[in-house]
Structure formats: structure tokens, C-alpha cells
Subunit: 409 residues, 2 copies
């Protein structure tokens, strides 16, 4: 009965390699969308949980509470208000679907539109998780180069025409127009309008990911693509992971009902977790508007700590900008640095980082680039981690040659 | 910019029909795994949320809290204890994966093992959601007839040999051995052992779904298949939806690490909702053992109300058993009744039910059968709903001919 059973012959083709055992977070944690632990609004969440459970806890006895499969209605009502003020989106609560994190939003849109062999257009540097999902689906993700304002429309137009000449119709253009991941770029309103025009001309859907858009230092941002298009031809996703807490897996998807009803039919999960939705709705109604600027201020400070530490430890060997928001910095090291190898060596020294090639469709271009997330470590840990990283990089690749105070050549 | 955009030409092949708008629950709600609203332990959940957030709320700042991708460790520790006592399973917390409801467990196992054209064996009458998922994946679900103890092994053996002769190797045998859905049958220990032997001989995995196994009237149940096999060749899933509250989307999957590590690699969702896991762990440690028998007692009472109402309203026209647990009753009506048509007519009268063909691979056999869930409506609503259903059935199909008190022929 207990003879060993070999599952290998039964596996579906193309299943990924087994996961490795988790051994805790690294000492210097510069990966993942983790956030600042001091800014989790614990007391207000307790207050919200108490109030909403007292009032509506018995509704947990039914799937979807009393709100149906789109998700807890007061949360959708809060979002409709927030999206109107923040992103300029005029939508009803019934055009919003609550998802189990924006990751589920990505999966749902991919399930709606994509089949093996399809082509999509994507920012050349982009969220690694999106690239992984597309790879697993057997979809051809064509990267479009970026500039300081995000997606380069000249390159996009050229690629669209090239594909058209080959008879290939891409399914969607995936873009993170507000606080682009990993570059932090914000696309201006004029380019947004031109992008929509181009996409409409080619009959290509726009897939707008606004997971980071709440975190701009100024608190301002251009109208979303969804808003500018009146919802036509655009699917919009967002999340509370970056603005409240990533371990709450609550995201949302906005689309016109013609599209949303098809996505809802694919969401065969009996609903997303209701307690998190209830607590978030109760919290956000009272505190979201005050909470986010406080968090952003701390994050803006951590970004400057990271930039200063990089300048101090790497000197001119590290090139980077000064993004107007977000939780990450995109960095170029000298051409001889292979950041995949750097990441392996750094891991052994307790520093985790995202090597550029995992965050780009252009592996050569990204070879010497990396992403560092700065939201989770405290300022002193950021400084120490960058110093350790510089030591590892020097040992492995001979750069940085000198630090600010000491010639190590 | 706002010209209408037609998404139809971009859709992936085989996407399901759009969802219809949700218009609230029906008056007589006999479908879905909804539970008894009075038994949602609201005060204890508030207490649990307060305690766990106060103690560990700041850990929400990191994906997976401090527990890694398998899920909140104290919940996995509770489950390891509970499964040992309840189902006889000896496993470590690192052989348990917390999922977003057991629906995600179904999806993960299907993703691990199945590809279009594959064959699986499944109980002829079974959970409709499992059948729908298999249909969407293009998998051939071969039904095995049931008897009062569940899966009939003579029929299973015959089918396994038939398939072997054709060169077809089924990927798994999906079974709900403890409080079978929809029949409520509990498979005895001897048959469990024989089933494992048969599966091992044919190199077929067992996929054991124990979503309802907490709800037996006696509080007892045979050891799980996973326990009897020492985990070899078995994947086990379960849920808190039926024992605590369905709107909490927390399920779990138990497998040996060789299998679990492959499933974990497929769970690309950045973790399941952590607040629900934290609150459940805190609640369950103190209250699970007392809560479940109280809930079961109420459910056992509602089952008898339903059985009495059916006897009163349908007389001998309705045939059904007296299941030893669960939240549903499987009913046979006279052969001329088409329960798909009955469900449509009943819906218009405010009664929702699961027509048999949606819960069976044998559409002819199930044509005159239906499933009624009794956990959600209160006793008086059960009585009224059954009376309305009898009226609709009489109008549409001429049966039941007479009720207990009045000849309606």
C-alpha cells in the first residue's frame, strides 16, 4: 500500500520545475512587492474588522456574501469613487470585479484572450511575473523599447505594421503607464491619447496594469488609459497590495460589462476571500485618503536612501534615475556585469535582487541591469545591503573600482 | 477614441458564455455550499481577528507573512493536528498547502496532471464544479457508478481494464469518499483499502476530495485514503468552507513534498489571502473542536426537516436516503420528470435546485434526479420551498399526484 508512487509519468507536459523549500526571507530583501511593516495600519484594521464583522459577519454564510460574484459591493463602491477621483475613470460598481490580487486579473485576461501561439505586445522592460505567465502559456511576447515616458510609440507603430505585414494580429498591448515596473516612468496624457489611437486603428486591446499608480510622490497622475478611452478596448487592473498590504490578496479589474461578463464566466473560484474585502472596504472608506500619502512619504524617503547608498558604494558604476513613485529602482551596472550571476553570488551573501533579464524581453540589453525594491528594508538595512552588494559585485566583476571613501582597486 | 470596440474577434477559442447579471439570492435557496447564517461564529471571529492582528498584523507587509508560500504556518500546524486526529493523516505542516478555497486545489491538481485529451475516472454522480472544470480542459471524465458506500470497485476495475486494453492510462481517480457529493455516502475502510490497491496496480493517482468530511452527524469517519496510503499516490484536498463559512475562501491540499513542490510551482498567485488564514488559525485553535459538532447538530436537524417536507409534499414520488452527514440530499423523482426543465420552472417560482444532469456523467440516469442543499434556508423556508417545488412539479409533470393531506389529482 505504501510502495513509493512515481508521479513523473503522469505529469502534464510543460509543468515547471518543482519549487524549492522556503527558508525565510534574506537579510537584505530587495525583491518582491513587500511593503513597509511600520505602515501596516494595524489598529485601524482591527477597528474595521470589528465593525464590519459585528454588522455583517453572518453574511459569511453565503458565497459572495450578499454581493454576488463581482465581490463585496461596498468595496466596489469605494473603488468606483476612488477611481473617479484618482484615475478619472467613470464606471459603476458593476463594472468592477474584485480579484484575488492583481495576479488573478492577469490570469483572467490571459484566459479570455490568449491561446498557444498568440502574440502580445509588451513593454520591453516589464513585470517579470507577467513574462513568466506568458511564457507558460506559449504566447509570443514582443517587447517594445521604453524611454523616460514609458512605451515608445514610434517603436510600437513600427512593430504593429511589421506584424500586420506578416498577417499577425497581436491580442493586446500590456502596459504599466503609471509608475512603470521597473523603470518608474509615468506616461504623459498626450502619449496616452496617441497610444489609444494607435491601438484602436489596429484593433488591438489595451491591457492597463495600474498596480503601483497610488504611490506617486506628488499624489498626482495623468488620467488612466481606461478613462481616456471611455472604457472602449481597455481592460484596467489594480491592487491594494502596494497601497495597504501585499499579504491581503485583493485586486480589481475594471472593464465594460460586455467584456467583464466574459471574464466573470472564467472566474470559477466561488469568489475571492470575503473577509479581506469586508475589512478593506471598511478601512478604506475612512482611512485610505490619509493612509496613502503617509506611506508614499516614507517610500520617497527610502528611495533617496537607496540612491545615496548606490552613489556612495558604486560611484559612477551604477546608473539610475529618480522615479516619481513606486517601490523599485532600475539600475544599470557596467557592461561586463552579468546580473543573473550577480544575483546568485549576492544571494549567498544575504542580498536578494531581481536580475534584469527576468524583467525584460531583451536579455542582452538587460544583462547588466537589475531591479532593487526599497519598500521593505529599513533605511539602515538598505545602506548595509547596498554595501554588501557592492562588495560582492567587486569580487565577482571587478566593479565598482572604488567606493566614495576608499580606493579598493 | 470612444468608438465601440468589439472584443469578439480577439477571444481565445472555447471561452464560456458571458455571465448573467446577479440579481440576489432566490427566496428558496437550495443550491450551492451556503451554510447556516446563525452558526457563523461572529463574536469569536472578531476576537480572533483582534488578537492575531494585534500580535502579528505588521507581518501583512510581506507576501506570505513570515510563513512562505505554503501559507500561514500556524494554520498549517492546526491542520496537521486536526488531520491526524480526524482523518488519521500523519503529515508535517510542510506537506500542507493553503489554497484559495478547495476550488483552487482542484485547479492546481488538474494543471499538474491533465492536458487536453486525457482521461480521468470520476464518481458517476459527483460535484458539478469538478465536471465543469474537466469539460473546459477538454478532458474525458469517465463516470463509475456508485452504491450506498460510494464508488463501486467492480465497475472501477472493469473500466480500468477496458481502458488498459485500449492503451488509455487514466491520470487520476477523483473521489469524495467521506460524505460523497451528492449522495452523502461514506466509503468503509475495507473498500478504501481495496480502492488503493486497485489504483496502485494500475499506476493511477487518487485525488481525494474531503470538503464535507467534517460534517458527519456522529463526528466519526473512516481513515482517509491519504492516511491509509501513507500519502503515496494520493493527493488530498479539504476546506473550511463547510465547517466555518464559505465566503472565507480557505482550503488546503495535502501531498508528499515530491508532489507538493510541483503543485507549489504552479500556484503563481503570490499566496492566498493572509488575513483569512490568520483569523481562521486563531479561531480554530480555540474553537474548532466545539464549533463543528454544534453546527453538525443543526444541519442534521435541517436534513430531517427537508426529508419530512419531501415526504409530506411528494409522498412516494420522491425517493431519497438518510445521509450520515453533509449539506445536501440526492433525490429521485418519477421517470417522466426532467429536472433541468423543473429547475427552470422552479427558478421562476423562487426555488433554486441542482438538476441531476449537472451533477452526473450519466445524463439519462440523472435526468429525473436532483440535489437539494439544506444548510442555508431556515426550517420554515425549507418547508415552504418544498411545497412550492411540489406545486411546480405537479404543474409541469403531473407529479406528485397527491400530497399528504389533499388529493390534487
Amino acid at each position: 500500500m505504501t510502495a513509493p508512487f512515481d508521479v513523473a509519468p503522469l505529469l502534464a507536459p510543460g509543468t515547471p520545475a518543482p519549487a524549492v523549500k522556503w527558508n525565510g526571507f534574506p537579510k537584505y530583501n530587495f525583491i518582491g512587492g513587500h511593503n513597509d511593516a511600520k505602515h501596516v495600519p494595524v489598529d485601524a484594521l482591527i477597528e474595521a474588522a470589528t465593525a464590519v464583522l459585528k454588522r455583517e459577519g453572518a453574511t459569511l454564510a453565503t458565497y459572495g456574501l450578499n454581493s454576488g460574484p463581482l465581490g463585496y459591493r461596498p468595496l466596489r463602491e469605494f473603488l468606483a469613487d476612488k477611481l473617479k477621483g484618482h484615475a478619472g475613470i467613470a464606471c459603476s460598481p458593476d463594472e468592477i470585479l474584485i480579484t484575488s490580487g492583481s495576479m488573478q486579473g492577469l490570469d483572467l485576461v490571459n484566459n479570455l484572450l490568449l491561446t498557444r501561439g498568440d502574440t502580445v505586445l509588451i513593454e520591453q522592460e516589464t513585470y517579470g511575473g507577467a513574462l513568466t505567465k506568458l511564457g507558460r502559456l506559449g504566447v509570443n511576447a514582443v517587447g517594445i523599447p521604453l524611454d523616460g515616458e514609458g512605451l515608445r510609440l514610434d517603436a510600437l507603430q513600427q512593430k504593429l505594421e511589421e506584424l500586420k505585414a506578416k498577417g499577425v494580429k497581436p491580442k493586446y498591448i500590456y502596459t504599466i503607464p503609471t509608475v512603470q515596473n521597473p523603470t518608474g516612468a509615468i506616461m504623459g496624457e498626450a502619449r496616452r491619447k496617441a497610444l489609444l489611437k494607435l491601438a484602436a486603428e489596429h484593433g488591438v486591446m489595451i491591457f492597463e496594469d495600474e498596480c503601483y499608480s497610488d504611490l506617486t510622490w506628488s499624489g498626482e497622475r495623468p488620467p488612466s488609459l481606461y478613462a481616456l478611452a471611455g472604457g472602449e478596448g481597455v481592460i484596467h487592473i489594480g491592487s491594494f497590495s502596494k497601497s495597504i498590504a501585499p499579504a491581503l490578496r485583493v485586486g480589481y479589474l475594471v472593464a465594460r460589462w460586455e467584456v467583464l461578463s466574459r471574464i466573470l464566466a472564467l472566474k470559477a473560484d466561488a469568489g475571492s476571500g470575503s473577509l479581506e474585502q469586508m475589512v478593506l472596504a471598511e478601512f478604506c472608506r475612512r482611512h485610505f485618503a490619509d493612509h496613502v500619502p503617509r506611506l508614499s512619504k516614507t517610500l520617497a524617503g527610502k528611495l533617496q536612501v537607496l540612491r545615496e547608498a548606490l552613489a556612495e558604494q558604486f560611484g559612477t558604476a551604477a546608473e539610475f534615475g529618480d522615479p516619481p513613485g513606486g517601490i523599485y529602482l532600475w539600475i544599470k551596472l557596467p557592461d561586463n556585469v552579468d546580473t543573473v550571476k550577480l544575483a546568485q553570488a549576492a544571494q549567498a551573501a544575504g542580498v536578494s535582487l531581481n536580475p534584469g533579464p527576468e524583467w525584460s524581453t531583451n536579455k542582452d540589453y538587460a544583462r547588466c541591469r537589475l531591479r532593487l525594491c526599497f519598500a521593505n528594508p529599513d533605511p539602515e538595512t538598505i545602506r548595509q545591503g547596498v554595501a554588501v552588494l557592492a562588495d560582492v559585485c567587486r569580487r565577482e566583476f571587478g566593479v565598482p573600482v572604488r567606493s566614495a571613501n576608499l580606493d579598493k582597486a
